[in-house]
Symmetry: C2
Subunit: 239 residues, 2 copies
């Protein structure tokens, strides 16, 4: 944990004016986000918001029968906990760390205080939330119309955009939970991507070999979401 916090690792923090960061400095803490850690539970009170830096966080919907489905993913371009400032302070979804790493944690009250000043923080966060909404909407449509093969490509690309390097530490079982499909289905789809020479993997590690081909094979959803993030967030924020 460096003495001088480097807020540039999260794009939202990086875009904030100095005076906001100065106010936040005493209350914002770097934290480890280990794989599987639940940042908030469905319907639970939100004591903090999180700004991931090297971690990836999944917004996961868990149904009554235990089945799950990812509705959006948040990395160093975003913030976990938008429902805090949107109002209500909870959502019926769960936020869980999908790829281990670090992030910053900020107390809910401090965030709210700043939000209620109705300055640049408010506008930046609302634009980010709009981008998140796009991702959710796209996920809904994608779940309806695209096959597992394409969705796996989309999902790999979305994750890749939020990581450095081209390797994901990720079991097929975990991916299947995110996509809301069976593990066997992921095995089959991944096998085909492997045969085509796009990826390589072994026991919980996936390496992307041919990213352009992955983009070509993915459904349109990846591209749409990416473009919308680029449009809505300041240039230096683009993923």
């Amino acid at each position: 944990m460096p003495i001088a916090l480097n807020f540039n690792d999260n794009s939202l923090l990086a875009a904030l004016p100095q005076d906001v960061l100065a106010r936040w400095r005493p209350f914002i803490k770097p934290v480890d986000l280990p794989l599987g850690k639940i940042l908030y539970e469905s319907g639970g009170k939100m004591a903090n918001v999180y700004f991931p830096t090297t971690a990836i966080v999944s917004l996961l919907y868990v149904m009554e029968n235990g089945a799950s489905a990812e509705i959006a993913v948040v990395g160093h371009e975003g913030i976990v906990g938008v429902s805090l400032f949107m109002g209500g302070g909870s959502t019926p979804s769960r936020a869980v760390v999908q790829s281990a790493g670090q992030g910053y944690r900020l107390k809910a009250e401090v965030m709210m205080q700043e939000f209620n000043r109705a300055g640049p923080v408010l506008h930046l966060l609302l634009r980010y939330t709009q981008a998140l909404i796009t991702q959710m909407a796209q996920t809904a449509a994608c779940n309806r119309h695209h096959d597992l093969d394409q969705q796996l490509c989309r999902w790999l690309l979305l994750s890749l955009d939020r990581l450095v390097g081209n390797e994901l530490v990720m079991t097929q079982e975990l991916i299947s939970n995110m996509l809301g499909v069976r593990r066997e289905g992921v095995t089959k789809a991944a096998g085909e991507l492997h045969k085509a020479g796009l990826i390589e993997y072994r026991r919980g590690r996936i390496t992307v070999l041919d990213r352009p081909a992955l983009e070509a094979r993915s459904c349109e959803c990846y591209e749409v979401v990416k473009k919308e993030y680029a449009r809505l967030l300041p240039v230096e924020l683009a993923i």
Copy 2:
């Protein structure tokens, strides 16, 4: 068109303070919203926002190949055009009138002016947006895990909540576009609901006979969304 506008027909308008309504009065107009009218197009600029009263508006995602999927529905409890104040001024989805009726139209600039005062309008609209987000997330998960039968029940109930009476003017073809499935699939599912005595229909009119049974047969998604709307919006706003 009455001389005295009755803003109580839309719950958001009804919840606004008098001084806001007074400022809006010169700029807000009752409008007819005929079936199929497109209020805004994917990616298009948003010149107005709409407050439905008796109409229902679908937020529809249209894919490259022409396939579509509804991501949320808006009626007298809401507003069409949240991406205006969220930032960006457009979304990659389309807003189309799903059930003909009336609503109010307000110029985008007037809305923005009020929103930027950062008063009760801002907070009310953000809470509503949060409810809308819940609906989208639920739709995403529902699309993944529940079968057409259950989804049709959910969809009928969501529509019914936004109408007076128990009759929907709605062809199966239209429903299939909303749900993102084939028309034949809707015919089959509707036939089963009919056999079970829950609904009755003839050529573009569906009558709900046994609402409790419909709720029992629906997936959990309807209940979750409904509860979240009730929680997030003031009591008198509850659908």
